[in-house]
Amino acid sequence: MERLGNGPKAGIEAGRLAAADYEANFADLHPRLDRHEALVESDRCYFCYDAPCMTACPTSIDIPLFIRQIQTGNPIGSAKTIFDQNILGGMCARVCPTETLCEQACVRNTAEDKPVEIGKLQRYSTDIAMEQGRQFYSRKAPTGKTIAVVGAGPAGLAAAHRLAMHGHSVTVLEAREKAGGLNEYGIATYKAVDDFAAREVEYVTAIGGIEIVNGQALGRDFSLSDLSTKYDAVFLGMGLAGVNGLGIEGEALTGVEDAVDFIAALRQAKDKSVLPIGRRVVVLGGGMTAIDAAIQSKLLGAEEVTICYRRGKENMNASPYEQDLATANGVIIRHWLAPKSIIGKDGPNGTHVAGIEVEYTAMRDGKLIGTGETGVIAADQIFKAIGQTFSASGLGALQFEKGKIVVDPEGRASIEGVWAGGDCIGTGEDLTVSAVAQGRDAAESIVKALAAAAQPATAVA
């Protein structure tokens, strides 16, 4: 507000806020429950039979049990219950859209429209165990088998941990500089503060038998067939490295960026005040990435942030909770608007974004169409968050469907000795927790397959 005299800085500028504002804006979204809060909340759990929350959890964490363990003063036992099913339970406690998973299924929703805060309770016990450095799993005797895991994201880490537990030696090949995948690069800053993703990687790999090699990209530094030759099994968990383009005029203008890059830069920046942000920002898309980019634009000091989504509220991939979080942060969400062209303006550094022309949309006979009516939204910066794609290379003859790796229910891909999980497979759900489940289950399948292969052939009766 102090800037009103001179007017807010137009264009894309860093340092729009005072230092203290940055700190406050990017602090933990939901600080951890203290012991008293955890006890009060855990008392609300009914310890349901065949609990719906557990069914709703992609990793099938025994939620009633871990909550009962908190209630009886055993947070460490509670953490083990969580990690037994989900070794990335700490991150999932922070980023899971619980409102559409376990907490949506909670019977307290039916009873009183207020579910047990399962996510917060999960964070309570996992934080305690991790801070105390409690490791619950030790490796079985080394099997002598080596397994390559491609991608150190949630799927790869979950797979690596489970494989290491069974005594296998795991090499994780990661294209980026740091491990963690989307947990490190793709989550809004206020959801995983204090370098949590990196600490979690350390916690997971502390079991031993896992070597993470950074800067190794599939298709650039090695191919799938290299791995198949060198290792006893391969798990592919690369996630989605590509981003969808708009395919409209002006997309190449300065100020048009991919939301995922913006989010990653935010996560990696120690000092948020150096990050430039537009005075007026438009975010295109309706998923979590769009929401994360929009909220954080606002938190960096953008004056006006608008999400444009080409369908209705009910079609948005972002949960109602996330949408509310955005609007509570001052983001305007506009539905039924499709980008038509990006308008540029000549400036000292070439042509820069000045706005976006949008077309109103509607559903006709089950099809999304443009109505022909258009409008212009002024913007200095435009973030594209219209979906990510799997950019495949180096995978040889591996079978794909709709651009993603085909796997069977155990996670086996079409080439023998190759498994896959996470966002890169056809059934990937764009959720950390689902990726963990797929990595874990594929690891079990690998363990089973290697054990079967190690058995001496039985004589034919």
């Binding site: 009060v40 008392d43 039979y49 019977v107 039916t110 009873a111």
Partner: protein, 437 residues
């Protein structure tokens, strides 16, 4: 407006809610606050004989158990009778009674089991002009080791003897407070009646160890690493107290003996239940010690509003109303058949009814029907035990429905018999009486 004024053995109070003899009634300050809050009466914390007062421990005196959200369900204490000088108490009692003439003040007394001791203290109490005395034969800790409290209450002959002395040496109404730490509450009640008591009050606290500190392995409350059994009270003891009150109310030998009901009374409902089972008024302690004196407002309005709603005009309309319905098991109607019924609209699908029935009872509730999570009673298995009702977190979601006479009981394949038939008449009972020819 219902009239909730109380007349208990001639002691009048504006409502039937008294504070029991306990820490909340140890001195004028507390009692005055209680009266300001609206309590009908108090039983002043137990007086001991003249001379140096008893001493209390200087560490913790209380321990507790809790329900969800740390709601206090049971309290245990090792505090003794008043540790203040007798004459200080007497002076304050007299003063407070003078200031609050419409409220009841009863003096609780515990002195050694000697005639002289009782003979000495009674005139001192009488001089304060309080309304009556209560003989503390109840405390199970500390004083009982010295031959008082429950040590007396556990020996009917002593009760009778002391009551007789008191009736002999004072004109004041005598209320005999009973200990629940005995096998059959009717015996001490009968003894008190034989001694000439005007009333009994019960229950005093139950001998208990509330918990063990798992770091130090000391019982709680821990006094320097050691613990001693204490007296248990609070909501958790209410069922025990209700039964004991009812046993005295329906015993032919004590029938009609006024009873002051004590034990876990926390709300107006609890109080109404005690009155219905034969109590002429009630005494409260733990609820006040948990929430403060203000709770009496809820008790007064709750009781009064319920009486208005039901058309009860005075306490006499409800006192003893449930007593005729308390019977022995052998007289329960074995032809009465009920089945659980789950209101599907109210059901939140927690499944606790199913797992309780499946694991521990009669396998009479489904968990899945046609592949959908669904909880429904299978009448052909349901024995009507009520466990599902008790474990369901939603009130009135599961109800017990009586089968009308003539309907088929799918479990037994028999038609419900309209006649009353109890165990004494049942063919499986080796003691069954022959029906009159």
């Amino acid at each position: 407006m219902a009239d909730i004024r109380n007349n208990f053995v001639g002691i009048k109070s504006p409502n039937p809610f008294w504070l029991a003899s306990a820490p909340p009634t140890d001195k004028a300050y507390n009692v005055e606050r209680a009266f300001k809050a609206g309590w009908g009466g108090v039983v002043w914390k137990t007086l001991g004989e003249e001379g140096p007062p008893v001493v209390n421990v200087n560490g913790p005196r209380y321990g507790a158990i809790w329900g969800a959200d740390r709601r206090l369900l049971g309290l245990n204490n090792i505090e003794l009778i008043t540790d203040r000088d007798l004459y200080t108490n007497l002076r304050e009692m007299k003063e407070v009674k003078k200031n609050w003439p419409d409220r009841a003040i009863v003096a609780s007394i515990m002195v050694p089991c000697e005639e002289q001791a009782w003979k000495a203290i009674l005139p001192l109490v009488e001089e304060t002009e309080v309304d009556g005395i209560e003989l503390n034969f109840g405390c199970p800790h500390g004083m009982s080791e010295r031959g008082m409290g429950s040590a007396v209450g556990q020996v009917p002959e002593y009760i009778e003897m002391v009551v007789r002395w008191c009736k002999q040496y004072t004109r004041m109404p005598v209320i005999t407070k009973l200990t629940p730490n005995i096998s059959d509450i009717r015996h001490p009640a009968r003894a008190a009646k034989r001694g000439g008591t005007d009333a009994v009050s019960l229950i005093n606290t139950i001998s208990s160890i509330i918990s063990v500190d798992l770091d130090t392995f000391s019982p709680n409350p821990s006094v320097g690493g050691k613990g001693s059994h204490g007296g248990y009270c609070g909501p958790a003891v209410k069922p025990i107290a209700l039964n004991m009150v009812a046993e005295i109310a329906r015993d032919p030998e004590t029938y009609g003996l006024p009873i002051s009901g004590i034990g876990g009374i926390t709300t107006w409902r609890d109080a109404a239940e005690f009155l219905a089972l034969g109590a002429g008024n009630v005494q409260v302690c733990t609820a006040a010690m948990t929430y403060g004196f203000k709770i009496v407002e809820e008790m007064i309005t709750g009781l009064s509003d319920w009486m208005d709603e039901k058309g009860h005009q005075s306490l006499d309309d409800i006192i003893c109303r449930a007593v005729p319905n308390v019977t022995d098991w052998q007289y329960l109607n074995l032809n009465y058949i009920a089945k659980a019924h789950i209101d599907q609209d109210a059901c939140i699908k927690c499944g606790r009814c199913h797992i309780a029935c499946e694991d521990t009872s009669h396998q009479a509730i489904t968990s899945m029907v046609d592949g959908v999570r669904h909880f429904e009673v299978m009448e052909e298995e349901c024995v009507g035990c009520n466990l599902c009702v008790n474990v369901c977190p939603v009130e009135n979601c599961i109800t017990m429905e009586a089968l009308p006479a003539g309907d088929l009981d799918k479990r037994t394949g028999k038609v419900v018999d309209p006649t009353y038939a109890n165990w004494t008449q049942h063919p499986n009972n080796p003691m069954a009486r022959q029906a009159a020819e």
